[in-house]
Structures are given as structure tokens and as C-alpha cells.
Symmetry: C2
Subunit: 210 residues, 2 copies
DNA sequence: GGGCTTTCGCTACGACCCGTAGCGTAATGC
DNA sequence: GCATTACGCTACGGGTCGTAGCGAAAGCCC
């Protein structure tokens, strides 16, 4: 072996020998989330993760190159829980996704892992790619879906000629505000804050007031 | 000694003995920023910082409790460069501060340090306080100042009855969007993006389009 | 100058984690 | 049964951690 990647592909077809244990994958990822909560990024050791998962340390190193990759994958499993139920209006949809995202970020494992991984990625190109692939790209679907619904309802103009850039902008504004509020300013995202934020986002500062 | 804090107070009054070298403080902080760029958060060691600074390792430990505190202080010196020149309109002021903040975040030392410190802070109450005191609190002055000017110009309503919450909200929206764009989405904040962001912030999605 | 106090650079230390190698064993496909 | 791969286990050299102890240097105060 030398693939250095989680079992994932379920015995990659045309392979002989003992297949990797999917149960071990799940146990390692769960142990990683658990250890992150207790120890934080710099306190987390792969030896400890292996111990918690009931797995040999070498088994962890066979599948992930290091701490960064392991934590990124553990984080991705948490983000995939996000969904966007149709609440009937753009305002309600935004408030809903803001609160849902905030609840996700309230989980200690999520906040610790997200920031730590992004920090490591600043000087690791491969890790940046992994984050874009497994987290950012997967979550933009929420913005695309919400925008599509709002256009169908006639709540926002339908600039079907140039849809790309605005998606990214809106994604950064929403996700960035929630992350900053929660992790940098260290204050809660409650229904009141979500409502005020949505008002500013929909109506702008000139109307909503400074 | 047991103060465990940078020289700062310049021989804290009524102290005898050899005073701490302020030059050593500056050298250590500069070495920390330099090492962060080259090695990243997890690669940075206090022993290496001491070597770069031309200082004994023990001297570093006498002044800072650990990596987190040291990097937080090194980061604060970078953030203090931010200023808010009056550009004549709210739109121009926002675009100006967005671009200035983005240039700050483009520096490898800043982006690495900010995310790493926030990650550590998620499980370290004392560190959260240090960040609020030395970074977040100091930078909110930019929003306060910009808001005051806009109200004087009559560009936004003057809700002098309840100024508090909106300041925090706007701060999180602006800083969060720039940070998320730069560090999570890993795309540049140029004049075009700053203009589009400012339009959304001022006029809202309903007008600016989705 | 003499004495007191604190910081300085240096060295050494036990403890821990790293990431890998080597072994024998277990679980698959042919 | 045989080849192949993953598994658990042990052991290893190398590096960092944070602290302790030392003599020397640099300030204050008399």
C-alpha cells in the first residue's frame, strides 16, 4: 500500500489482499473530534487518537499523512450535516441557514478544527486544496440553492447572465460574519442577531441604519 | 520575578534590579513573525524563536507563558498599523478599510497567526480575553469612527439611542467577510471585490441583486 | 565605590511526541 | 493453499518541551 487516504473507495476495485476496515476509519475520525474538544489543536497527538480509537498508531499513519489531513476530514464529516429547508422567503431562508451554521460552530470540535486547519493551510498548498474540495465547495450549494429559490419567488433580480461572482461574495459575507461573530468576537449568534444581520444583508446599511 | 509579561511598563516603578531589555522584547516579537512565515504555527518552536532573536530560550519563557501568548502579542503589533483616513463618503471609507485590512491579511505572518491563535482560544479562556483586549477591542475603533463620520454627513440614520449592538454587527460583517474571502475561500480581495462588497453592504441584496 | 536585586546567557535534564521500521498474524481474492 | 494487503505490537533515533541551576552583567540606592 501507499495510497495514504481513508478507506473511502471501498476496496478500490481490482485489489487483492485484506481490505481496509471502514470501521477503523469511523473510529479514528470520531476519536479525532473527541480529542480536539478536550485537548485543542496543539494538544492533540496522533498517538492519543489511535489509543482512543482502539487502533494502532501505525494504522492512522497508513491512512493520513499527518494531523492536518486527519482533522480536515474529521471536520468535513461535521459540515455535511448542513441542509437548507425551504422556509418560504429569502429572509427566512437566510435566518435559517445562519442559525444552523451557528449551531454547528458552537460545537467545540467544529470551531477548534476549522480555525486550526485554516491556519495550517496558510503555508500548505495541498491542504488548501483539500479544504476547498471537502468543505468550502460542498457548502456553497446552500447559497446556490437559496439564490435559486429567491429568484423563482421574484425576491431578487434574475441576473442569469452573471451568476458566478455574486455566489462567492454572498457565501463569504454570510459564513464570514457568523464565523467572526462566534470565534473572534466570541459572542453568541441568537435569533435576534440573525434577524438583525439578515436585515442589513437584505436592505443595506443606508436603510437599516448604522 | 514572576510577572510573566513583556517589559512593557518600562521598569514598573519602584522596582530594583536589572530592568528587562526592551530591545529583547522587540527582537523576540520580530523573530516570532519571521518564524511564523517560514514554519507556520505547528512548525514554530520557542527554541527557534530564541535563536533567531539572539536571545536565550529561558529569556522567552520568562516573559511569555507559551506559544499562544507570544504569537498573540506578535499579531497585535501588526494590527495596530491599521488606520482610517477620511475619504469623504461612507462608501469610500468602507472600501478603504476593506482594502487596508485585506493587505494586512495578505501578509503571511498575519494570516497564519490570526487563525492559529483563534483556534487555540477556542479551548483557552485566558487566551480569549487576551485576544479581545489586544486585538478585537482595539480595532473596533475603526467602525466607531467610520459610523460617526457617516452620521455627521447624514448618510445613515443617527440612532444615538442604541449605538452599541450595530457596531459589533457591522464589525463582524466587514472583518468576517474579508477574513473568510482571504483565508477560507483563498481568493484575493481586490478593488473590484471591495466595490461589490460595499454595494451589497450599503444597498442590500434586494437592490444589489443576488 | 559597595551592596542589593533582578535579568541575562548558558548548560543540562527528564519527559513526551514524532514518524518509521520490522515482526508475526489476520483477512481477503484467486 | 497461495499471494497480497492490512492489522496490532514493539522498538527506535531524533526533536521539542519547560524547568533548574550556575556565574556574570546591569541597573538602583546608600
Amino acid at each position: 500500500m501507499q495510497s495514504r487516504t481513508p478507506a473511502g473507495g471501498r476496496t478500490p476495485a481490482g485489489r487483492t489482499g485484506r481490505p481496509r476496515s471502514a470501521a477503523a476509519d469511523a473510529a479514528i475520525l470520531a476519536a479525532t473530534r473527541e480529542a480536539l474538544v478536550e485537548l485543542g489543536w496543539s494538544g492533540l497527538t496522533l498517538g492519543d487518537v489511535a489509543l482512543r480509537a482502539g487502533v494502532a498508531k501505525t494504522t492512522v499513519y497508513r491512512r493520513w499523512q499527518g494531523k492536518s489531513e486527519l482533522v480536515t476530514d474529521a471536520l468535513a464529516t461535521l459540515f455535511d450535516e448542513l441542509v437548507l429547508p425551504d422556509r418560504g422567503s429569502l429572509r427566512a431562508d437566510i435566518e435559517g441557514v445562519v442559525l444552523q451554521f451557528a449551531r454547528l460552530l458552537e460545537q467545540p470540535a467544529t470551531k477548534t478544527a476549522l480555525m486550526a486547519v485554516v491556519a495550517e493551510a496558510t503555508h500548505d498548498e495541498a491542504l488548501r486544496g483539500r479544504i476547498r474540495e471537502k468543505i468550502v465547495g460542498r457548502q456553497k450549494r446552500l447559497v446556490v440553492e437559496g439564490r435559486r429559490r429567491a429568484q423563482q419567488r421574484g425576491e431578487i433580480p434574475d441576473d442569469s447572465t452573471d451568476p458566478g461572482p455574486q455566489i462567492d461574495l454572498i457565501f463569504d459575507v454570510i459564513a464570514g460574519a457568523v464565523v467572526h461573530r462566534t470565534l473572534v468576537s466570541c459572542e453568541p449568534v441568537d435569533t435576534d442577531w440573525a434577524a438583525r444581520f439578515t436585515t442589513v444583508l437584505l436592505d443595506g446599511l443606508a436603510v437599516a441604519g448604522g
